[in-house]
Amino acid sequence: MSQPTQEEEILAQQALAEAAGAEAGSEATGGLSQGQIVRKRFFGHTGALIGLAVFAAIFLLAFTSVGAFGIPGWWKYNHTDVSPLVNDGVPTSSLWPLAWGEHPFGQDRIGRDLFAMTMRGAQQSITVMVLIGAIAGAVGAIVGGLAGYFRGWVEAVLMRLTDVIIIIPVLLLAAVVGQIANRRDEGSWIASFASNNGVVILGVFLGFVLWVGLARLVRGEFLTLREREFVDAARISGASNARIIFKHILPNAVGVLIVNVTLTMSAAILLETALSYLGLGVKAPDTSLGLLVAQNQEAFATRPWLFWFPGLFIILICLSINFIGDGLRDAFDPRQKKFKAKSAVETSSHSSTTAPVADASKGS
């Protein structure tokens, strides 16, 4: 029943005017699906594109330089090689003249190459982040969505399950899982797998723990969205429950979902550090970004580069993920508009005078 506010009114008029202008250029507008439009909007978002580019660059650099999955990389050292100290371990790279040098990021006390270690760490951290994001996001969205949409006993069961997982401390669970995964003497496949891919186990495990917060948020969103009339409209159109959940409600809840997934992914790096310290996941001689920072924090006064480079990569990865998340959210939400008063330009036509421009296109 509510009347739109003046501001919304103006936004609508503005959009009409813009679209009318765009139409003049290309007369024939074919119908686009929601997916196509979201993609178009995402690739029109500068921040998201930069984020995506940075993330892709780090991803490529990390996985090609020191190699992964048994394929050797192009960098001459790997994270376990010990070589004689060059220049007392100080980074050999310089901006002017631009040079790479023997050990661009420097070496640690015993002569391991920090570039190789950082790249290996970035691999590990990215793996954990992506696994956690994907698993927690999917499980959280599905559990929260089902609970919020169906209510009744489905909700009761799923939400009590969520409550149970929430009250168990993550660290305690992690320690137990770590112990089970670490029984190498048994020689079972899981143990051998875990010894080589500790970080995958860690990512999967954290993913299956961290979905709970997300599920509650998504459920809340679903509870309000399911009462909206467009859900009834979809039902009358003959849409099945699955279609209503995934096509109609989920895109509307996607803002909450994406923001929280990206935040969870950023926090995952630190969580991974803590858990690696406890003995689950990444273990020396293998390394991760969080572990590198944690190990080298005492060297901050004497060998600061040991701290700076892994830290820089943590920041770059987290920022780019957050920018991508921002871009995704804006792409899904057609209402995003920002305004700065100082850079504003004067216009003389009233907000509603733009409407006839749009109306004029009716005739054509």
């Binding site: 509510s2 009347q3 003046q6 103006i10 686009l32 039902r235 996607v254 057609p334 509603s352």
Partner: protein, 615 residues
């Protein structure tokens, strides 16, 4: 208001407040007021160079469509605009400049000297405090008085706004009151500090017609009692007809015409004013028949005499009604074919949720709709009319009785079962709130195409063609199909809703208050479109609305609902010309007329109806 702290005699306080401006003096003076909103790095003007003044005891109505800047300019008086706005010009309240004031000073003015009545009382009142507590808060913020005294004054305010049980209302939470009572409480709160200026921003838009009439009565009484200056903001010319002294018509941020109410209504100069007046749906302007003189009909049905209308003339008007009624009865006897919707003794319940017991919203409803027929379902909110509409499309289960839709009995159908799925291919539904009924994340083309896609009627290029045809039918440009709902105006969104409902070429269309969220002028256009489409495509329609005037334009038959029961049904002519039930008569009398003269007649009649003990 420190000099008011000394307790004065209670009953007379309102009239004799010492700091009151002298009667007739200018309370509000607005000069060259301009409001801009910043959008996309541009300042877009919402109001341009407004000039007006309001005197004490006077009602100025600012009328215009949504987006005309009427609300924005009025909120600018109090500095209540969002941060991306800019206000220029001069606003003087009793000679004191308000614009450019520090926020602390303007806070003093708000509530004490200037009060606002908002559109939606449910959201304007804080749900976690009692109504009384909120009034006491306002009182004690601006006056140094004891809690007890504030309480007494609050109860007196509630009495003043004619709440039936002020003591009880004082202790009630907003959700425990009805919409009309809430708006009364809201008015009590805004009047509690005896403001010099009262801004009423669409005070009755969210209310039923009958409640609206009551609130307007109340405001009229209060104006006589209080001597405040009132600025009434509305889009409905019918509302201002007998309340406003002067009217300013706004369009695109500019006042295009202003004058006394008499001038505006009897001799509108600007074409926009004329269009606004023409857009108000009033009873008796049905499409293909002569006008219905409702005043006369009501007078006849209730055997009352009006002082303001000559007796002979009334008799003549009644006779005309009788003749038209006979003609309509003959037409109604024609054969019609298989009914599209048939309700026999239907009861509908909202199932119990947690501790809230099941609630029977509709009881013993009988209703038949034949192909090509438009049936209007009218009643106040809470009367169960929407419930019937939703049950007809299978969104609510039928608790008792039998409901046949397009030849199938769906009273026992399973929720989301196969049978409902099939039946829904022959039903379309238009929802009340166009912004809520379209998925905000779906381009409208997809929203329109979804029923066809899901029914497997069309796909790919074929589907796109069908969408284009539908957009043409509802007179929207084809290029709109990639727009999101928020990029369309309210009327355009409702056109999209209609296009979606039509997409499967339904035999039955259920329209649930499709125009109640729209401006009057937009409503007129949407109704016209709807009428044309109905004539062209020949679907049967259940048209749910609270506005008798709207249904009058469209419907062949009218059902009147009250408290979950259909109290009266018949052809449009029967209901409008010869209403039998007192409730129907009351509904009819409450519809405002865009004409101060006729409205006065109507009001007198309404007063007599009420006096005759009609509940």
């Amino acid at each position: 208001m420190t000099d008011n702290a000394s307790p004065e005699p209670e009953a007379t306080r309102l009239e004799t407040a010492s700091d009151k401006t002298a009667p007739g003096s200018v309370v509000l003076e607005v000069r060259d007021l301009s409001v801009d909103f910043g959008v996309d790095k541009k300042w877009v003007p919402a109001a341009i160079g407004l000039n007006y003044e309001v005197r004490a005891g006077e009602v100025l109505a600012i009328v215009g469509e949504s987006g005309s800047g009427k609300s924005a300019s009025s909120m600018a008086l109090l500095g209540l605009l969002p941060s991306n706005s800019r206000v220029r010009g001069s606003v003087k309240l009793s000679g004191k400049e308000l614009l450019g004031e520090k926020s602390g000073n303007i806070r003093e003015v708000r509530g004490k000297d200037v009060a606002v009545i908002f559109q939606e009382p449910m959201t304007a009142l804080n749900p976690v405090y009692t109504v009384g507590a909120q009034i006491v808060e306002t009182l004690r913020l601006h006056n140094s008085i004891s809690p007890d005294e504030a309480r007494q004054r609050a109860v007196r305010m509630l009495e003043l706004v004619e709440l039936p049980d002020p003591e009880k209302a004082f202790k009630s939470y907003p959700h425990q009151l009805s919409g009309g009572q809430r708006q009364r409480a809201m008015i009590a709160q805004s009047l509690s500090c005896d403001p010099k200026l009262l801004i009423a921003d669409e005070p009755t838009t969210a209310l039923d017609v009958t409640v609206q009439a009551e609130i307007l009565d109340l405001m009229r009484n209060l104006r006589n009692k209080l001597d405040s200056a009132i600025v009434l903001i509305t889009h409905d010319m019918g509302v201002v007809a007998d309340l406003a002294d002067r009217i300013a018509v706004m369009r695109k941020g500019v006042i295009v015409e202003s004058g006394t109410a008499q001038q505006i209504f009897s001799n509108p100069q600007h074409e926009y004013t004329q269009a606004l007046l023409a857009a108000v749906p009033h009873l008796g302007q049905g499409a293909d028949s002569t006008d219905v003189d409702v005043t006369a009909a009501l007078a006849a049905a209730t055997h009352t005499e009006l002082e303001s209308v000559d007796h002979d003339e009334l008799v003549r008007r009644e006779r005309e009604n009788q003749a038209a009624l006979k003609a309509a009865a003959e037409e109604a006897a024609k054969p019609r074919g298989e009914p599209v919707l048939e309700l026999v003794d239907v009861a509908i319940e909202y199932p119990k949720q947690g501790r809230v017991p099941a609630f029977r919203a509709v009881e013993g409803a009988n209703l038949v709709i034949y192909p090509g027929q438009v049936v209007g379902l009218v009643g106040e909110s809470g009367s169960g009319k929407t419930t019937i509409g939703r049950a007809a499309v299978g969104l609510l289960p039928v608790a008792a009785g039998s409901m046949r839709v397009v030849g199938q009995d769906i009273s026992a159908a399973k929720r989301n079962g196969k049978q409902l799925h099939e039946v829904r291919r022959d039903i379309g539904m238009v929802f009340q709130d166009p912004s809520s009924s379209l998925n905000p994340r779906l381009p409208i083309g997809e929203s329109i195409g979804e029923p066809m896609f899901l029914a497997g009627v069309a796909k790919g290029v074929n589907l796109q063609k069908r969408i284009e045809t539908l957009l043409d039918q509802v007179e929207l440009p084809r290029g709109y199909r990639n727009r999101y709902p928020h990029e369309l105006s309210g009327g355009q969104k409702q056109r999209v809703g209609i296009a979606r409902a039509l997409s499967l070429q339904p035999k039955l269309m259920v329209a649930d208050e499709p125009t109640s969220a729209l401006d009057v002028s937009v409503q007129a256009k949407v109704l016209e479109l709807f009428q044309n489409l109905q004539r062209e495509l020949g679907f049967a329609c259940l048209f749910v609305t609270h506005d008798l005037a709207v249904v009058d334009v469209l419907a062949d038959r009218i059902c009147v609902m009250q408290r979950g029961r259909i109290v009266e049904q018949g052809t449009r002519e029967q209901i409008l010309r010869n209403p039998q039930e007192p409730y129907t008569q009351r509904l009819l009398a409450a519809v405002p007329l865009p004409d101060p003269e006729k409205q006065r007649e109507r009001r007198e009649l309404r007063a007599q109806l009420m006096a005759a003990g009609i509940e």
